[in-house]
Amino acid sequence: MNQLFDLTALELARAIARGDVAQSDVIQGSADCIAVSDKLNCFTAISVSDPIAATPDSSLSGVPMAVKDNLCLAGTATTCASRMLRDFIPPYTAAAVEKLLCAGAVCMGKTNLDEFAIGSTSETSFFGPVKNPWNLEYSAGGSSGGSAAAVAAGLVWYALGSDTGGSIRHPAACCGVTGMKPTYGTVSRYGLVSYASSFDQIGPIARDAADCAAVLDIIRGHDRRDSTSLPGPYPSLSAQLTGDLRSVRIGIPDVYFDEAVDEPTRCAILSCADALRRRGATVELCRASGLEHAVHAYYVLACAQASSNLARYDGVRYGCRAEAAHDVQDLFVRSRSLGFGREVQRRILLGTYLLSDENYDTYYKKAVAVRHQVEGAFRALWHSYDLLLTPVFPGPPPKLGQKTNDPVALYQEDRYVACANLAGLPALSMPCGMRQEGLPIGVQLLGPRMSDGAVLNAAFAFQQETDFHRRHPPMFGLGGDAE
């Protein structure tokens, strides 16, 4: 059983298809593993979906996976790790989840996250923080911390996350797994509980780039239920994984390779560049201007949208309702004060302030202008480069409890990843080294809109050259053998 955990999702699906292993054994192995991994706090709910007979050509049929708990699954509580939605059971399933289930995926449960996906340490969850499988004193990153930790610990073979300002890539880097935020509009948001609609995007967290491509090939595509969904075409991403990087030009923008980046991270990224060169790519440091204010604009726009998207939780129709309200206004105030945690309340207040009549022009409109500037800055870079290589964050992953009292410092760290959301770009994070303290280091690859295949291929090439993606925390896969 144990060696099954070393397989990638694609390899496991093939093993199941060949009959080398029974699907029921695989599901049981995963369930056993999850059962003894309580301490990671990866899951908000464990409930194994009934396997659907998938089409024979499905590449991931029978493979256990997990879904971030801000994605709706009909009949199962979708909590967003918030007291507000603790008991909310949606009557529908998110488009991306539905597609995976139809392709034979087995959903093992819903994964923990920062409340409403707002945060980058998975500590704001109503159910408590997710712990990093490499070191339980560290955060798993966020907001898709539960998904990243579950994959890193070998509890499932891949998981869905959502990425609004780095929420797939950040925890993937913290946990040493591969996570991909695809081009905005390529995966339907139908059934994803909105945080900041113009940035939210669903994507996979998996063991390597090939698995990410396989998941994306299933979940990508036009969906008329999401008006921001792109019409396509959607060529196979897996088919673009040649590992050949000849004539691929990769830039390392100076703004993201600054003095804040610590030595281990810097070294890991430079050796990543070498590995990419060995595959035929040219990699060089490059000047980039116009990206400096991206993270500030991101926070203005994200908070503004969050304040509106989260306004519907008022205690009237579903969700947390406070007792003893003396009128309907009081019901709103009490229910929202009770149902939302501190960080969510902070962002709602910020967003409400930013959208007010007197601040709209000063902040919101300016942020929109910065967003256009950022898009322009990237367009300029694409003249000279096919892809960019940057850190995901500049130092070690956050220790649990370390930065929860300094939100602005935490917001600043999102600057390496939030720019991709601002411009709607595909961006991937993958492990590229280890810190002395035994924690993984991540690196980010990003490309122009709709270059998801090129981004994945660069990661695929890197992973052919190296084995960081095959390194696992000591507890990996122990669930099955623990008893």
């Binding site: 939605l85 009557p91 008006s227 921001t228 304040s307 519907r312």
Partner: protein, 473 residues
């Protein structure tokens, strides 16, 4: 002092789509509470709006008929506020780039009322207040509305009503809305201020709400204008506030000061892409636009010499005007067709409780009946009898034949019947001879009756008079 009243109207019109503006739920009126709802119109987490193209098309038809400039790329914005009837806590509307701007509507008297803008938005739900609780019905949530905003060009309650009537006629003709005020598919808020006659500066305005009928609009405008004038003449100042029209007390009641009105924190809705309306679409819609009521009325007056009242009545509903035009097209003289429709057809519709769109009689049938009268086959009274018989179906000529209703123009036969009548009514003959003219009418009537009505009344009159003259000599 002389005062001018300045009024601007904000009219919400429900579009006649089958389904809601951002989901597939039905827009039917009067369904049991909360039976026409889905995750989208209830704003459940994870649901997303998808724009109903039919709603856009109807709104565009209205925009074109109101002579507006359609915005090439309009956008949807969120209007954020908390209220139990608003499930997402924001209304999807259009503020920064509305669907259309800068139009106008010409009143029947020729005055031009400017339309400053019109935009698409979704309706909210409805609260039902009970003694101990309030219930919410979300059926209306997401019903498509257009809001049509005029410039402050209206000068009084009468004119406001004239504007609304004209607007209603246009929208009904276009099939954009049924505009039923009593069902709330046309709702109107009034912005009213007064200023010294001749002044060009606008006074402080109040907004009037809860206007459930055209009459309420007129009365509220008149009341509010007098109220404001009284305040200003006594040296006071009008407060900028929102008032509710109290139908029973027939007065406006302050609801809240405008300054206290919330900040709606409008911003572009990130769930909906900008709405691009190409010239091709507009050209197609322009070509499709039907002739409107005032255009028809002008044509009836010009081509068919119909009077103003006839024109107005016939064009009051598109269905009626179209029926009229069909009857004329089948050969009926316009004036005869108009008289029949405004008289008998409307009488029967009202008696049978039918709408003008539901005339059971075919235009062909009415045209045939008019021809029978014109040709002298039946007289008018008989024709009304035939009309009632064939109103719900049937061929008039066939009916006349089978019931032997053809009138006789055989003078000898009429004279013989009339001679009998005179013989049986000596008293009346003597009355006539002694100068009582009325008596002749009675004798004509009796002769008509004896003929079973099947003779031209004028001919019968002539024959009776000839016989009477003979008596005199």
């Amino acid at each position: 002092m002389n005062w001018d009243v300045v009024i601007g109207l904000e009219t919400h019109v429900e579009l006649s789509t089958q389904s809601k503006v951002f989901c597939g739920c039905s827009t039917a009126f009067g369904a049991p509470p909360n039976t026409l709802c889905c995750p989208v119109c209830l704003g459940l987490p994870g649901s997303l709006p998808v724009l109903n193209e039919q709603a856009v098309e109807l709104a565009l038809k209205a925009a074109l008929a109101l002579n507006c400039t359609v915005t090439p790329v309009s956008r949807f914005d969120r209007k954020n506020y908390f209220y139990p009837d608003l499930p997402k806590a924001y209304q999807i509307s259009q503020l920064y780039a509305p669907l259309a701007r800068d139009g106008h509507l010409d009143l029947p008297g020729g005055r031009r009322i400017r339309i400053s803008e019109m935009h698409l938005e979704e309706d909210a739900g409805k609260l039902h207040h009970h003694a101990d609780r309030t219930a919410v019905d979300y059926n209306r949530c997401g019903v498509p509305l257009v809001e049509i905003v005029t410039a402050p060009d209206l000068t009084g309650g009468e004119e406001a009503v004239a504007y609304l009537e004209q607007l209603r006629s246009i929208l009904q003709y276009l099939g954009v809305s049924d505009c039923r005020m009593e069902e709330g598919s046309l709702r109107c808020d009034v912005n009213l201020s007064v200023r010294l006659a001749g002044s060009s500066e606008l006074g402080t305005r109040t907004e009037l709400k809860n206007l459930g009928s055209l009459r309420a609009v007129r009365l509220a405008c008149e009341y509010e204008a007098q109220r404001q004038i009284a305040i200003l003449e006594s040296g006071g100042q009008v407060r900028c506030q929102t008032c509710r029209w109290d139908e029973e007390a027939r007065r406006t009641v302050p609801m809240r000061d405008k300054e206290q009105v919330g900040d709606y924190r409008y911003f572009p809705d990130p769930d909906l892409p900008p709405l691009a309306v190409g010239e091709e679409w507009l050209t197609h819609l322009r070509a499709e636009q039907p002739e409107l009521a005032h255009e028809k009325a002008a044509r009836y007056a010009r081509d068919w010499q119909l009077g103003e009242y006839d024109c107005a009545t016939l064009t009051s509903r598109r269905g009626l005007a179209e029926f009229f035009e069909q009857v004329v097209a089948l050969g009926a003289p316009p004036k005869q067709a108009a008289n029949w429709i405004m008289g008998q057809v409307l009488r029967r519709l009202s008696a049978d409780g039918l709408a003008v769109e539901e005339i059971p009689m075919s235009a062909r049938s009415l045209a045939d009946l008019i021809r029978l009268v014109e040709q002298g086959t039946v007289n008018r009274n008989t024709a009304v009898e035939v009309f009632d018989a064939v109103f719900t179906g049937g061929d008039p000529a066939e009916y006349v034949r089978t019931h032997r209703l053809e009138q006789s123009s055989d003078t000898e036969q009429i004279a013989s019947v009339a001679a009998d009548v005179l013989a049986q009514n000596h008293k009346s003959v003597e009355d006539w001879l002694s100068g009582k003219e009325k008596a002749a009418g009675f004798l004509v009537g009796q002769t008509m009756r004896a003929l079973g009505g099947k003779a031209p009344p004028a001919l019968v009159g002539d024959v009776v008079r000839q016989l009477l003259e003979r008596e005199r000599s």
